[in-house]
Amino acid sequence: MAVCIAVIAKENYPLYIRSIPTENELKFHYTVHTSLDVVDEKISAMGKALVDQRELYLGLLYPTEDYKVYGYVTNSKVKFVMVVDSSNTALRDNEIRSMFRKLHNSYTDVMCNPFYNPGDCIHSRAFDNMVTSMMMQVC
C-alpha cells in the first residue's frame, strides 16, 4: 500500500528509508524530511500530557496532491513515516494503523538483536521483508 516507508531516529536522521518507485526516491526522501516538522508539531501538541497518554499513531500528517503522509511515533521518539498513494482510496485508517503496528513490531525485533546498535542503519533482512510485503501490496 505504501510507496515509501521511513524510519527516523530520535535525532531526526533516517535509520531506514525505502520507496517503491526507485526513480523518485529523492522526492520521497524530501517528502519524509518535510513531514518531520509536522510530526514534531503533533508531538508537541499532544505532548503536554504525559507521554504515556500520547497515542503512538499520529494519523494523516499532511496530504499532497499525489500522496498522503502518515506518521507514527514510538515512545522513544523513533518515528515511522509512511507515504501512501492518494489514488489508493480503499486504504482505511485501520489498515494504516495495522501497518504501523507491524512496522513497530519489526522494529522492536531489530532492536532486540544484540548485534544491532541503536542508531545504526537497519539492515535486517526480516525487516526488509516485512517492509517489502507492505509495499508490494500496492502494486
Binding site: R101, N105, T108, D109, N113, F115, N129
Partner: protein, 775 residues
C-alpha cells in the same frame, strides 16, 4: 576389457574425473601423468597402482582411454575397499564406494563426487561444518595430519582427528571461492588441509558405503543444505580455519580433555549424521559441544544467555556483524533478545555453517528450530513459541507456557495473524448482521402479517415444510450472528423469534391457504365475476352444490343445518314462521321481509335493519318510500356500504323496490345471516338489484350469487292454486337461496373484519406519523 557396469554415481564421478584428467581436452584420452597423479592421490601402494594400470589395459595402450580410465577408477575403489584386485571384482563388487583420492585433486574430486553423490541428498557441506568445534581444536593441535595418516592406513572407523582444516587457509566466504581456490592446487598447502579430511574420508566411507564423498557433497557447495556426510569433509574446507579461530577463546579456555573427548566423538557423530538427510541437523556431538559452550556462558541449561554475552561470544567468530545480526535474527526465535539453549545451539550451528562457507538461509531450518517442551508438535512449536515467550527470565522449558500473544514483536509475519484474526473476527461479527437484515425484515413482515391475521399456527402444509428449513437455516445463522454482533435492535428483535418464525411463516402460508380454502372469495383478489349462469360459478358453488346435493334428501333439515358458522338467529321460529307463510301470502311475504330484516341485523352494524324491518313491516309497496328512506338511513349508517349506499340513494328514485331489494341483500351480505330466505318481494328486489348494482364491487359477488340463486328460481307463484309441490319446491329454492346468502354473509363479514383491521393499522400508522407532520 570386460564390460564395466557402473552405477550412475560412479558414472558421473568417473566422467568427471576423466574430464579432470583430460587436461589436453581430448575427451578421449587421459594423459598418463595426470592419471598417475590421480592414482597416487588414491593413496594406494604403488604396486597396486601398477596392478590397476595393468588390469585396465592402460599399460598395454600406453594411455588411458575412457574405458580404461573408468576401469582403473573402479579398481582403485576396489583396492581402497581392501578387496583384492581382480578383473572379476569389477562387476561383482556391488556398492563399491567411489574411489577416494587424496591430494591436490581431492577437493575437486570431492566436489565432483559430492555433486554426484546420489545417495544422500545433496546436502551439505554443512554437515562438514558441524564438527568443526572438535575439529578445530584438533587442527590446532596439529595432529590432524598425523591422525589422518593413521586413518588412512587403517580402515577403522573412528578416530579423533577433527576434520578441521589447518588454519592456514583463509576462509573463503563461499564454497564457490573455495572451489576456485582449490582448482589450482597450490600443492603442499592444499595437501595439508586435505590430508586432514582424507583420513576422515576413509572411515567415513567405511561407515557409509556408497555415501562416498562426504567431502564431495560439501563441496558441491551449491546446495546450501549440507550433506550429512559432508560433515566430515567439512574438515577440508579452509573455512574451518576460521571456525577454529572462532573458538580460540572458548576452545582454549576449555580443557583439552574435553576437546579431545569431543573430537573423539566427532567421528561417531559424523557417522550418525550421515544417516540423516537433514543437512542442518545438529548431530549429537555437535549439540554436546554447543551445550558445553552454553554452559560456559550460562551454567543453567534452562536459563538464557543475554544478548550482550551472546554478542561477545559470537563476535569471536570473526564473522561480519551483518551476518551475525542475521544469524541472530534467525536463531532468536522468540525475539526476546536472549538465547535459550536451543536457540544458542541453532545460532552456533549457523555460525559454524557460515564459517564453512555456507550461505545463511533466509529462514531458520526446521531442524534448528527450538523445541519447546510443552508443545507436542515440533512444527507447531516454532509458531507458538515465538508468540509465547515474554521475558528472558523464564526458563526455556516454561517459556511456551507463557505464551500470551501479547508478545507481539515476535515474528512479524506470524504475529500479525493474531491481531488480524481478532480484528477479522470482530469485523466479521460486525458484518454479519448486515446481510441478515434482509431475512429478518421479510420474516418480520410475515410475522406482522401473522399477528394481524391471527393465524392458526398448527397447519402443516407443504409450504410450511418447504420454507422452514430454509428459513430456519437463515434464521439460525442470523440469530447466531446477531448474538455475536449485538448491533441491531429494532428490526432484529424479531430475529429472536426466528426459530419460531419458520413455523409462523409456514403457518402464515398455511393459514392463508386454509383461509383461502375456506373463503376463496375473500383472499383471492376477487375480480368481479359475472354471475351469468345460474349455477354457482364461485368456488363456493362447490359447497353450494354439495349442500344442494345434500338437501334433496333432507331439504329443510339440510338447509337449515347447512350454515354452521352462521350465528343462530334469535327468532328462528320467526324465520321458520314467515318462511312457511311466505309463499302463501304476499303480505306474509312482507312480514317475512319485515322479519327477515329483523333477523338480519343481529350485529350492531346492522342495527339499522331494525329500522328497515319496521319500515319493511309497514308494507313493501306502500312503504316503498319509507323503505327508501329507511334504506337511505340504513345505508347511510352502514359503514362499509357507504359507496353502495350512495348508489342506493342515488337510485332510490329510480327503483325503490330495487333499492329495498338491494339493501336487503347488502345487509344480508354485511353480516347478517338470514336464516329465513328473503321474502318474495324482496327477492324480486334482489333480482332486480342484480341489474341495478353490477358496479357494486363488494357485493357484486354476493349479489351475483344471489341473483344467480334467484334467477335460478322461477318467479314465485303467488297463486294459491299452485300445488304443494310447487310450494315445497319454492321452499326448497328459498332455502337454497338462504344458504347462499348466509354464505355470502359470512364472507362479507370476513371481509369486514379484514377491512376493519386494516383501518386500525392505518390509524395507528397515522398516529405514529402525526408528530412528523408538525416538523
Amino acid at each position: 576389457m570386460e564390460g564395466l557396469t557402473l552405477s550412475e554415481a560412479e558414472q558421473r564421478y568417473y566422467c568427471d574425473l576423466f574430464s579432470y584428467c583430460d587436461t589436453e581436452s581430448t575427451k578421449k584420452v587421459a594423459p598418463n601423468g595426470r592419471v598417475l597423479e590421480l592414482f597416487r592421490a588414491a593413496q594406494l601402494p604403488s604396486e597396486v597402482v601398477l596392478q590397476i594400470m595393468e588390469l585396465c589395459g592402460a599399460t598395454r595402450l600406453g594411455y588411458f582411454g575412457r574405458s580404461q580410465f573408468y576401469i582403473a577408477l573402479k579398481l582403485v575403489a576396489v583396492a581402497q575397499s581392501g578387496l583384492p584386485l581382480r578383473v572379476e571384482s569389477l562387476n561383482t563388487v556391488k556398492d563399491l564406494p567411489l574411489p577416494r583420492f587424496v591430494g591436490p585433486k581431492n577437493e575437486q574430486e570431492l566436489r565432483h563426487t559430492a555433486l554426484y553423490s546420489s545417495d544422500a541428498d545433496n546436502s551439505t557441506p554443512y554437515s562438514g561444518v558441524i564438527p568443526p568445534p572438535p575439529g578445530r581444536v584438533q587442527v590446532k593441535k596439529g595432529s590432524v595430519s598425523h591422525d589422518a595418516v593413521q586413518q588412512r592406513t587403517s580402515t577403522d572407523q573412528q578416530e579423533s582427528t577433527s576434520p578441521v582444516v589447518s588454519p592456514q587457509q583463509s576462509p573463503p566466504t563461499s564454497p564457490h571461492t573455495w572451489r576456485k581456490h582449490n582448482r589450482h592446487p597450490s600443492g603442499g598447502n592444499n595437501e595439508r588441509p586435505l590430508a586432514g579430511p582424507g583420513p576422515f574420508w576413509a572411515p567415513f566411507s567405511e561407515a557409509q558405503p556408497g555415501s562416498s564423498t562426504t567431502g564431495d557433497s560439501i563441496w558441491s557447495g551449491h546446495s546450501p543444505p549440507p550433506h550429512q556426510e559432508n560433515w566430515v569433509s567439512f574438515a577440508d574446507t579452509p573455512p574451518t580455519s576460521t571456525l577454529l579461530a572462532m573458538h580460540p577463546a572458548s576452545v582454549q579456555d576449555q580443557t583439552t580433555v574435553r576437546t579431545v573427548a569431543s573430537a573423539t566423538t566427532a567421528n561417531e557423530i559424523r557417522r550418525q549424521s550421515s544417516s540423516y538427510d537433514d543437512p542442518w541437523k545438529i548431530t549429537d556431538e555437535q549439540r554436546q559441544y554447543y551445550v558445553n559452550q552454553f554452559k560456559t556462558i550460562q551454567p543453567d541449561l534452562n536459563g538464557f544467555i543475554p544478548g550482550s554475552a551472546a554478542k561477545e561470544f559470537f563476535t569471536k567468530s570473526k564473522l561480519p556483524i551483518l551476518e551475525l545480526s542475521h544469524i541472530w535474527e534467525l536463531s532468536d526465535f522468540d525475539k526476546d533478545g536472549a538465547l535459550t539453549l536451543d536457540e544458542f545451539c541453532a545460532a552456533f550451528h549457523l555460525v559454524v555453517a557460515r564459517k564453512n562457507g555456507y550461505d545463511l538461509p533466509e529462514k531458520l531450518p526446521e531442524s534448528l528450530m527450538p523445541k519447546l517442551i510443552d508443545l507436542e508438535d515440533t512444527t507447531v512449536v516454532p509458531v507458538i513459541s515465538e508468540v509465547g515467550d515474554q521475558s528472558g527470565e523464564v526458563g526455556y522449558s516454561s517459556s511456551p507456557a507463557e505464551a500470551p500473544p501479547s508478545k507481539s514483536p515476535s515474528m512479524p509475519s506470524l504475529n500479525q495473524t493474531w491481531p488480524e484474526l481478532n480484528q477479522s473476527s470482530e469485523d466479521t461479527a460486525i458484518v454479519h448482521p448486515v446481510p441478515i437484515r434482509m431475512t429478518p425484515s421479510k420474516i418480520h413482515m410475515q410475522e406482522m402479517e401473522l399477528k394481524r391475521t391471527g393465524s392458526d399456527l398448527a397447519n402443516p402444509t407443504s409450504p410450511l415444510l418447504v420454507k422452514p428449513p430454509d428459513l430456519s437455516e437463515e434464521n439460525n445463522m442470523s440469530s447466531s450472528k446477531f448474538v455475536a454482533g449485538n448491533t441491531v435492535a429494532d428490526g432484529y428483535s424479531s430475529s429472536d423469534s426466528y426459530t419460531s418464525d419458520p413455523e409462523q411463516i409456514g403457518s402464515t402460508v398455511t393459514r392463508q391457504r386454509s383461509h383461502s380454502g375456506t373463503s376463496p372469495e375473500n383472499t383471492a383478489p376477487p375480480p368481479p365475476p359475472p354471475r351469468p349462469h345460474p349455477s354457482h360459478s364461485r368456488s363456493s358453488s362447490l359447497d353450494m352444490n354439495r349442500s344442494f346435493t345434500v338437501t334433496p334428501g333432507q331439504q329443510q333439515a339440510g338447509v337449515v343445518a347447512y350454515p354452521p358458522a352462521v350465528p343462530p338467529r334469535p327468532p328462528p321460529s320467526q324465520g321458520a314462521g314467515p318462511h312457511v307463510h311466505r309463499s302463501v301470502d304476499a303480505e306474509s311475504l312482507i312480514t317475512h321481509t319485515s322479519t327477515s330484516p329483523q333477523q338480519i341485523p343481529e350485529q350492531p352494524n346492522f342495527a339499522d335493519f331494525s329500522q328497515f324491518e319496521a319500515f319493511a313491516a309497514s308494507g313493501v309497496n306502500e312503504e316503498e318510500e319509507d323503505e327508501i328512506e329507511t334504506h337511505s338511513e340504513v345505508l347511510q349508517v352502514e359503514k362499509p356500504s357507504d359507496s353502495a349506499g350512495s348508489l342506493r340513494v342515488a337510485k332510490t328514485d329510480g327503483r325503490v323496490e330495487d333499492k329495498a331489494a338491494a339493501s336487503v341483500p347488502v345487509n344480508a351480505g354485511k353480516g347478517t345471516t338470514p336464516l329465513a330466505p328473503p321474502p318474495k318481494p324482496i327477492r324480486r328486489r334482489l333480482k332486480s338489484e342484480d341489474e341495478l348494482r353490477p358496479e357494486v364491487e363488494e357485493h357484486t359477488q354476493k349479489t351475483g350469487v344471489i341473483a344467480a340463486v334467484l334467477a335460478s328460481q322461477p318467479s314465485i307463484p303467488r297463486s294459491v292454486g299452485k300445488d304443494k309441490k310447487a310450494i315445497q319446491a319454492s321452499i326448497r329454492r328459498n332455502k337454497e337461496t338462504n344458504t347462499v346468502l348466509a354464505r355470502l354473509n359470512s364472507e362479507l363479514q370476513q371481509q369486514l373484519k379484514d377491512v376493519l383491521e386494516e383501518r386500525i393499522s392505518l390509524e395507528v400508522q397515522l398516529e405514529q406519523l402525526r408528530p412528523f407532520s408538525h416538523l
